[in-house]
């Protein structure tokens, strides 16, 4: 009996346009998913054998759907399998009826990947993410990968372990990987003797990546929402046990041997905190923190610990005036805080407001203001930041100085960034409004300088030494003479807002 639907054929490409000269997206009334027919729309330029078509139908059938399996991943895999087979002309020889479906293949690969990331069958130099490519036992497709399936035989027994158990017993596995095993694998790796051969293989693995779904992507959106406390989501699970690690920008997939797992990272943080207190070496600390952040990112760890790390780094960067690094941390923290992972969201909201004052970023300031809830506005740190903003907006330098001297938390470091230009503005203001002169003491107190010396130096730094005069034992500023003198420098100061680059 002929079935009442258009037969589904594997398509050569996954173009998006449903509208074409050939029959448009047809919805076969059979129980197929809505999107699949459009995807598998008969761009039938080749005659696919019946068995292949049946295989494809099986793949799309709803009962074979694996919950949590991304449809696109499955389609990509399907395409890969079929085109490989087509290229090697095995379309008719492969037993499609008994071939495992793409979704099963992907599932198996994932299990493999997690496992093999800990036990690469060869030396440490090769990117381990490509391991699953060599899993020739799983896929019958004649892949372009070398057959190292013989190397896997020693690990047969472990392959059935599901990923979550792997994660919890992570340390157990790490214990099992003794040095001798590693050496043994190194020897195997050396089988493909020359360095160039190894390099070539490495390249093939990396090229082979393109055909498969990149394991970089998290499993599915639904799984993303589970708190990643117990299990490292994502493909990379670190093995490195070193506490300290220099920062290197990643140019390819990370090597788990250089990535530190969560327990190690926690100890690293403690060590860094102690070292910072003791040595105060910023470039070293910054470097270490960046590699710490990197390890957290590649392992997709988003917990309170992550928040903690970013907050500490942000504070350190603030202390040293490294605005570039601080801005990076700030951006990440905003996203993290929105996930309610803990930490001190209010403290950092206040910092953000101060930061936007510094960068004169009206749009983001507007947005930040819009995001505040009435309760947050009562938090002292945020209240302080808001008052600072409005004082500066109205030019109330008197109030600004008072606020500057009473900044909560570490906001003072941020205020330091723009206190200079605001004082300049105030000076310019005063020169125009006060005649004929004002006492230096008044200036010092009004603008929150620590001493007359400091304020005098400030004036001289901006070229105003001519206006300082000693009268009856007191130093005065001849505002009458100064007039619009400081106006130009004031304009210039507000023009360029320099966000210093990273160290």
């Amino acid at each position: 009996m002929k079935c009442a639907f258009t037969s589904v054929v594997a398509r050569r490409n996954f173009g998006q346009n449903h509208v074409s000269a050939t029959p448009p997206p047809s919805t076969p009334p059979a129980a197929q998913q809505a999107s699949s027919p459009s995807a598998a729309a008969a761009k039938a330029k080749r005659d696919w054998p019946e068995s292949v078509r049946l295989y494809v139908q099986r793949a799309f059938a709803s009962e074979n759907n694996i919950p949590g399996m991304n449809r696109e991943e499955m389609e990509t895999k399907l395409k890969q399998v079929i085109s490989d087979s087509a290229e090697s002309n095995t379309l008719l020889t492969v037993d499609w009826a008994n071939k495992p479906l793409p979704q099963h293949m992907i599932l198996a690969e994932r299990h493999q990947t997690i496992y093999f990331n800990q036990n690469p069958p060869w030396g440490n130099g090769v990117a381990p993410l490509s391991i699953h490519d060599t899993n020739t036992r799983r896929t019958d497709s004649p892949s372009k990968k070398r057959k190292s399936s013989d190397l896997e035989s020693s690990q047969n027994g472990h392959q059935k372990v599901p990923p979550w158990r792997l994660a919890n017993n992570r340390n157990l596995f790490e214990d099992r990987i003794t040095q001798s095993d590693k050496r043994q694998r190194n020897d195997f790796g050396g089988k493909s003797s020359s360095k160039s051969h190894q390099a070539k293989n490495k390249k093939r693995f990396e090229d082979g990546q393109a055909g498969y779904v990149s394991p970089k992507e998290p499993f599915t959106p639904s799984q993303l929402s589970t708190p990643p406390q117990e299990m490292d989501q994502g493909p990379v699970i670190g093995r490195c046990q070193d506490l300290e690690k220099k920062y290197f920008r990643l140019t390819s997939a990370p090597n788990p041997d250089t990535v530190r797992p969560l327990p190690v990272l926690e100890r690293t943080l403690d060590l860094l905190k102690r070292k910072w207190k003791k040595e105060n070496n910023y470039s070293y600390i910054c470097d270490q923190f960046k590699s710490l952040r990197q390890d957290l990112t590649v392992q997709h760890i988003k917990t309170e610990f992550t928040v903690n790390v970013y907050e500490i780094h942000a504070r350190i960067a603030l202390e040293k005036g490294d605005l570039g690094e601080y801005n990076q941390c700030q951006t990440q923290l905003r996203a993290l805080h929105l996930q309610h992972l803990g930490g001190h969201p209010e403290e950092f909201k206040a910092y953000r407001i101060l930061y936007f004052i510094h960068t004169c970023n009206r749009t983001d300031m507007n947005n930040a203001l819009a995001d505040l809830t009435p309760e947050e506005k009562k938090v002292p740190a945020i209240k302080h930041a808001l008052e600072t903003r409005s004082a500066l907006a109205l030019g109330n330098y008197h109030r600004f100085a008072q606020l500057y001297l009473s900044t909560p938390n570490m906001g003072a470091y941020l205020m330091d960034m723009f206190v200079g230009r605001e004082r300049l503005a105030a000076l310019s203001n005063m020169c125009l409004s006060y005649k004929p002169a004002i006492k230096l003491r008044f200036f010092t107190e009004e603008l929150g300088f620590e001493s007359d010396d400091e304020s005098a130096r400030f004036i001289c730094d901006h070229g105003g030494q001519a206006f300082l005069e000693d009268r009856e034992g007191e130093v005065v500023i001849l505002t009458g003479k100064a007039g619009r003198f400081f106006e130009a420098t004031r304009q210039a100061a507000f023009q360029k807002v320099d966000i210093k680059g990273q160290i």
Binding site: V19, P24, P221, A253, Q339, A370, S433, P436
Partner: protein
């Protein structure tokens, strides 16, 4: 589906773009509420293109012999339109979660098809309203799709796209709209890159598509992207018709957005110019548009010309009156605390429209008015002329009178001096402060510029 073809024929006969555009409207016209249903039910997915082709050719033969490319083009367009209608009907009738994303995807197909045929040159310039229709609704569907996605609880997860850098991606709550922005950008490029002579050029669609882009970018909260559009239009000035030659509706919308953009960048002079001309050109009965324009024009004039909107003007637009009257009154009477209270009350509204920071500066005017009152209230000197020397204490007293509670008591004279210094600096008061005497010396003529004193 007959109705579709009949309308199409009429439109082609009259060469009317708007009529043609109406044929692909996703909203049923008031005189034929069942239009979408009728069209959709008249065919099915397998045979839609054949039906359309047949229908078009049949009705075509009756009047003018169309060359084939036109039939093919419109077959594709109507097929895509038919598919989109299906999704729209499904969404409209769905009780639980209408799938606006599908509607959007289908409509995007339609838009892409139309763009394709414009670039291949088959569709002529007089059919531009079709492009407008596609773009306008694309944007609307995108917004609906995003809202639906947000409502169904999109998770606030990171965008872990780049494994190397720990960049927190922007939450993709506006993904569809961003996609729509790209499509509309293509429409814009389509218009601007047309080399045909002016009578048949697509350049006439420039401002409409530019306005669509503005609307989209504003909704996406990234007004900075609009600068590219303005620059593009500024660069192609030579062979483009003057702004005044375009339809009025395009011009008004354009000027409004340009005005708002300048406002956001604090170029108040430029903003005033654009918004004022938009206001004058706007049709009297388009109240919503006028309200929008005035929402930005009022704060602008406040700053540039220290002009307050008259009660008569505000009375015309009750919504605006609600928004601005408390503030305006407070400024006029120089009541600082009332001003602060009014600003705080309306804060949410103001921040939403991004006018809060500008209105804040109105406080200066308020203060100036207060001090002016002090000046006027001061006793005359022997010659019957006003005193030009006013003690800082007097000013301080006036301010404290208005301030409530703690703030007033803590107000030191130094702060009062600071405020006066600001007034002088901003040229709201002419004079100087003599700290030695604790006095403010005002200029004899025009101590308060702009107020006639």
């Amino acid at each position: 589906m007959e109705v579709l073809f009949r309308d199409f024929q009429t439109a082609c006969q009259e060469g009317s773009g708007p009529l043609l555009a109406a044929t692909i409207s996703p909203i049923a016209p008031p005189n034929y509420l069942n239009r979408l249903d009728a069209i959709y039910k008249d065919s099915n997915a397998a045979s839609i293109s054949r039906d359309v082709a047949f229908g078009l050719t049949k009705s075509a033969h009756a009047v003018i012999q169309y060359p084939n490319p036109q039939i093919d083009t419109w077959t594709e367009i109507y097929s895509a339109y038919w598919y989109a209608i299906g999704c729209i009907i499904a969404a409209a009738q769905s009780t639980s979660k209408p799938d606006w994303l599908r509607v959007y995807m289908a409509w995007k197909d339609l838009a892409n098809t139309i763009i394709k045929h414009y670039s291949s040159g088959v569709l002529e310039a007089w059919t531009l309203p079709v492009l407008y229709m596609a773009g306008k609704h694309l944007r609307i569907f995108a917004i609906k799709a995003d809202e639906a996605a947000a409502a169904s609880g999109g998770d606030d997860t990171f965008n872990t796209g780049d494994i190397q850098e720990d960049i927190a991606g922007d939450f993709d709550k506006n993904q569809t709209l961003e996609d729509a922005a790209r499509v509309i950008n293509r429409m814009f490029t389509l218009c601007i890159s047309d080399r045909a002579p002016l009578e048949e050029s697509r350049k006439w669609g420039l401002y409409y598509t530019a306005n669509l882009q503005f609307k989209t970018y504003f909704k996406l909260n990234s007004p900075s992207l609009c600068k590219n559009v303005i620059r593009a239009l500024g660069a192609g000035r030579t062979d483009m018709p003057d702004l005044d030659a375009f339809p009025r509706s395009h011009i008004v919308t354009w000027k409004y957005y340009v005005g708002v953009l300048r406002f956001l960048e604090e170029d108040y002079a430029g903003a005033e110019e654009s918004l004022t001309s938009a206001w004058h050109m706007c049709h009297r009965s388009a109240t919503r548009n006028i309200k929008l324009i005035l929402t930005y024009l009022i704060p602008t004039c406040l700053l540039t010309r220290q002009l307050l909107p008259s009660p008569r003007l505000l009375a015309l637009y009750p919504h605006l009156a609600e928004l601005f009257t408390p503030l305006v009154d407070a400024i006029r009477s120089g009541a600082l605390s009332t001003f602060d209270a009014a600003l705080a009350d309306g804060e949410a509204e103001f921040v939403k429209r991004r006018i809060y920071l500008t209105l804040e500066r109105g406080r200066d005017m308020c203060l100036r008015n207060l001090l002016r009152k002090v000046y006027l209230a001061a006793e005359m000197d022997e010659e019957g002329k006003r005193r030009t020397r006013i003690r800082v204490d007097e000013f301080g007293a006036a301010i404290r009178l208005g301030e409530r509670g703690v703030e007033g008591e803590n107000l030191e004279n130094d702060e009062v001096e600071c405020m006066v210094a600001n007034m002088i600096y901003k040229n709201l008061i002419k004079g100087y402060i003599s700290r030695a005497h604790g006095m403010v010396v005002l200029s004899k003529n025009g101590a308060f510029p702009g107020t006639g004193i």
